[in-house]
């Protein structure tokens, strides 16, 4: 993975985290700037890691469909594929945010599907299915983690310092 891709993954993760944390902060009064910044960085790294796993998971699924899969993973992020995800903070956009966010991810997924089809020899629609299943699975997993974090942080009471 090149340095450019790593940096783009970090920024895309931060962008995604910003898009998700802004509405959360709006619903949870009293968060300090420091806490919000810390939450943003931590969540950004997690989101970036999940994005990094997307092509890898899609390739693993494609291997299950191939009778003789290639020895190496043939699917990885390139800067061109990844750049649009810097806009994933659009999720926080009023009213249209969730729709624009979905369109963005469908577009990036289509790019990944093309690369996967080329690298594996699968048809485009099959490759798109692998990318979609991988993306949805990772999305559900990370959503579970998000909800858990929100629930834990909501019930956490401040420690009494004696």
């Amino acid at each position: 993975m090149s340095t450019a891709v790593v940096l783009l993954l970090v920024f895309a993760g931060l962008s995604e985290a910003a898009g998700r944390i802004v509405p959360l902060v709006s619903r949870r009064p009293g968060m300090s700037r420091t806490f919000v910044a810390g939450l943003l960085v931590a969540a950004g790294l997690v989101e970036g890691a999940v994005l990094a796993l997307w092509p890898l998971t899609a390739w693993t699924l494609a291997e299950l469909l191939l009778s003789s899969p290639p020895p190496d993973s043939g699917l990885a992020w390139t800067p061109n594929l990844l750049v649009p995800l810097l806009l994933s903070a659009v999720l926080a956009f009023p009213l249209l945010g969730p729709l624009l966010h979905m369109v963005l991810f469908v577009g990036v997924g289509a790019g990944l599907a093309g690369s996967l089809a080329t690298a594996s020899g699968l048809g485009w629609w099959t490759a798109a299915g692998c990318v979609a299943v991988a993306g949805t699975g990772l999305g559900i997993a990370v959503e579970g983690v998000r909800r858990l974090v929100v629930r834990v942080s909501a019930t956490r009471t401040p420690e009494v310092i004696v």
């Binding site: 802004v22 509405p23 709006s26 968060m31 300090s32 903070a89 659009v90 956009f93 009023p94 249209l96």
Partner: protein, 312 residues
Amino acid sequence: MNDIVLWICALGPVLIAEGLLARYEVLAYSAGWRDPVTELPDGVPYARGAAPDSPPAAYLVYLDGIGKRRFRDTRDGGQLVKAVLAGAPELRVLGQVQPYSPLADPLADRPVWAWLRRHVGLLLFLHNVMQVFVAADHRYRPLYNRAVGSQIATQLRLAGYEPDSGVPVVLLSYSGGAQVATGAIDELHTQLRAPLVVITLGGFHNGANDLTHATHVYQLTSAGDRIERVGTWIFPQRWSLFRRSGWNRALRAGRITVHRLDPATHLGPRSYISPDTRLPDGRTYLDRTTDTVIGIVRAHHGTPTTTDRPLP
């Protein structure tokens, strides 16, 4: 064609940036990073009309359309406020509420926005439009409603309103102000326990807010008002299909009364508040709208209507 592409390229990033920055205020309010503004500048009264030393017949809060950017009245909205004050001196009227600022901070008083107003005035309207959409978004709506509801309650108290006094509070809202007016109802009910009457004039709102605590809602509308009609198309909660939305529940309960002000338009020389265009009976559109508003308010506070003209 090239001009269109250029406009899209220029306006697109501006729209995205504005859309992403629009929630900063509600965020700052929520996190407590800034306190809402409560003091008015010198020369701006907390209310006009009936004297503050005895309870007025009703308090009327005017929530202006997207042109609102300072504590003082806008040119168009100001005409309606002045006409209501002249026609109903028994009311105390508040026009200083900032419907598009959860922190009650007028755009015109902010250095960056003051510069933008001189160079790209359109951006101020765009910002206020975006605030309407923030107020309508289910993720931000509860807090936005609480912020603006608190702002209105604070201004009412400063204008002399006594909670539990039973004096009616009328929220007269124009265009996007309707989103804010319908959203402020719960907070005002909680803080003031006042009889609340909502009047929407060409109201642009998403219909999601709960209207249970409003005594009644009056929809002043016209077949020639395209902007209000757009609101009924783009917000699913306004469709009859969404039976459980706040607006549709109020409709079924018979708590919304429609007054038709045909053939008025939302904006322009034939708008609801046009002082120039006349009806066949000789009244201007502004006169008719004012008569309608005053008639509604008086029906709620019991003062006999001085005009013998029937409500439209």
